[in-house]
């Protein structure tokens, strides 16, 4: 009897110490996170429940879930139209961009991992666009896509083909936006996956080679599972970033043609900050989008975890 009580007490002490240790490690981050993220986050949630007046906070009124009702259900209202069309366009972008934004960096990182001649130079070149600002990126690419003298169309004409109005007709408008996005942002994922690849023990590869496995088999059964932690972060952050896309459709195609590339963030931003702001509606839209993103992320995480354990 006496012995087990002592053991229990010691176990409890250990658990408490373990917890206290954990909190000590977490404290700085949690404090900063709470002050600068949680607080504004809750503030934002609260705003969505109000008819919030940006210029005269005193005139703000509580309206409960009315903002949500209007953007989700009020089909003859302008905010409903903005929300659903914006969401649809954002989803189109997410569905078509994410696979490329994950696959291409993966392939490139794998190629670089073989360390061919000059791989350091290649790595820097492929990463460089990621460092540019959005306005520089747009400025560079807009002139490539123009008709009547744009670089790509000049090339097409030389090859005897017709010009393509990349920025003003579909599906070219989406293709242009996705191409620019890949060029600009895939470097981030390439670095993360590259670092993950480097962490894989070489002896595993050698063993596989001796067993007669070719590249594809090695990649599928050894590389990918080892890469699971990095794949998780790449998948989730890429989806999140694609949901928040704003600069490329706004500046490259001005949301056109016919508002077909006007994504949700392009509706939220002016409503949050613009001259005719309605922060309550903007926040309701953002929260709705956020809920969708959380659900998608959780599903992704579960799928990847299952694959990683396999």
């Amino acid at each position: 009897m006496q012995i087990s009580l002592d053991m229990k007490r010691r176990r409890m002490k250990r658990i408490v110490k373990e917890h206290a240790s954990a909190y000590a490690f977490l404290l700085p981050y949690l404090v900063l996170f709470s002050v600068f993220f949680i607080f504004p986050f809750i503030y934002g949630l609260v705003i969505s429940l109000f008819n919030w007046n940006l210029f005269f906070p005193e005139e703000t009124r509580f309206i409960g879930f009315d903002n949500f009702r209007r953007i989700w259900f009020e089909s003859d209202g302008i905010y409903y139209r903005y929300f659903w069309s914006g969401l649809k366009n954002t989803l189109i972008f997410v569905i078509f961009s994410v696979p490329f934004l994950v696959m291409i960096p993966l392939i490139l990182a794998a190629l670089i991992d073989m360390e061919p001649k000059g791989y350091k130079v290649f790595r820097t070149i492929l990463f460089m666009p990621t460092v540019l600002s959005i306005s520089s990126v747009i400025l560079i690419w807009k002139w490539q896509f123009y008709t009547n003298g744009g670089f790509i169309n000049a090339l097409l004409l030389k090859l005897g083909l017709n010009e393509i109005p990349f920025l003003v007709s579909q599906p070219w408008a989406w293709i242009s936006i996705i191409v620019v996005t890949i060029w600009w942002t895939m470097g981030t994922n390439m670095v993360i996956l590259g670092a993950g690849l480097k962490n894989i023990d070489r002896s595993l590869y050698e063993a596989a080679s001796i067993d007669g496995a070719n590249y594809i088999q090695t990649f599928r059964y050894i590389t990918m599972p080892s890469l699971a932690p990095q794949m998780l972060i790449v998948m989730i952050t890429t989806v999140l970033a694609s949901f928040g896309v704003y600069g490329q459709p706004d500046l490259l195609t001005n949301g056109g043609p016919d508002f077909s590339t006007t994504v949700l963030m392009m509706r939220i931003r002016p409503l949050a900050l613009g001259t005719n702001a309605n922060p309550g509606i903007a926040t309701a839209m953002a929260v709705s989008m956020g809920i969708l993103m959380v659900v998608i992320s959780i599903v992704q995480a579960k799928i990847i975890k299952r694959r990683g354990d396999a």
Binding site: L54, F55, F56, P57, G77, I78, Y79, R81, K142, Y146, T147, N148, G149, G150, P165, L167, V168, N254, G255, G256, P257, D258, F259, L273, G274, T275, N276, A277, N278
Partner: protein, 432 residues
Amino acid sequence: MKKIMYILLALIFMLTLVACRGGQTNEPTDEVGKISLKYWNSLTGADGSVMRQLVAQFNAEHTGEIEVIETFTNEVDYYTNINLLVPMKKGPDVMIMHSYLVQSYANTGLIIPLEDYIESSGVDIKSSDYITDIFNSLYFENELYGVPLDVHTVGIYYNKDLLNKYSLSVPTNRQELIQAAKTVQTGEKVTNSQFWGLPLSSVWPSEWIFTASLYQNNGLEIDANGDPAYNSPAGIAALQAVTDLIHVEGLSPLNLGVDQDLFMFQTGKALFHIQGSWMLNSMVESGINFGVIPVSSMFNLTETTTKNQIPVRSHTFVIPKASVEVTARRQEAVMTFVKYVGDHSYIWATAGQIPASNIARATSEYQALPYHAGFGNLSNFRISAQSPYFHQAYSPIYSRVTAAMSNRNYNAQLLLNAAVEEAMLLLQEARR
């Protein structure tokens, strides 16, 4: 390892402390000594430099009394700053605003009426010193909210050498314009297939061009209730007058992006180019022997009484809701600055703007500027209709104009109706 970390930490904290102190602006001590004024505007780029010059000149002539600290932000983010910071009492003492937003900001109360302010300041600013129509457009609910700095508009730049080459005189109406463009285009395309008579970008400044066309075809942006009024026969005619230049007269290729038409003109590949007065210096630098004619009579499809009207916008001085205590001395300082810049806006004119101040336009310096008269007669200037919800009512037409210019088979009525429908929904929202 640990030691290095601690040293680093200490270093960083020292650095940020230093930076912290350096970054804060000192709250001005108002009652005695120098008054520090915060002045915000969205004038960046080359013409912004001219404004900087003006401010420096003012500060030099008022050392010890008034110091103006200017912050300039590019237009896209400028209004974000105002919208977020003025309500938080971090706004400026005086700022520049585009005229078509004055009514809206006056309606929300973010800017304040000026007449008492001017009176208390004792500075001599009166309406008779400024272009009447422009000045009057700055009243909201019978109170004055702004003092105009300039007006700017679009004009038709033309290549003098090419006109001479084909022995053409400067066009004075639409028929002559189209004829001249066609003649030169046919002639030049023999040797240069990339030449166009009047290339038009479907994106910019298409909203200006459409507005000119709307005015000249006797159309209205909004009616007396502030509702959109452009889906009228006049609106259809206005759209047609613009798009015909591309689709019917063949004077421009399709789908020109921003500045493609500008570059064509600046490299001698176009006879005419419709562009803002603010691009004047850029045209001079291009080396082309050019002249400017107003857009008057270039877009009316039938004889109208309004055929000579020219759309203008204005950069206007406004005063935001106060961030610091406003004393009589501060009011005097602000208005002294406003009057000074206005009187000296012949300097500002070198950036391609037309001064709103009658005093500035009367100076010999302004009279000597070679191109400004080409933008038209002041009596033909027409500023946008006044309504606190002007942007909601009118801006939906912009993207539809682009659509019409990009698509040979557009349906004018459908596009106009779509614009009006969106406008009505926005207005409904705004008027709640």
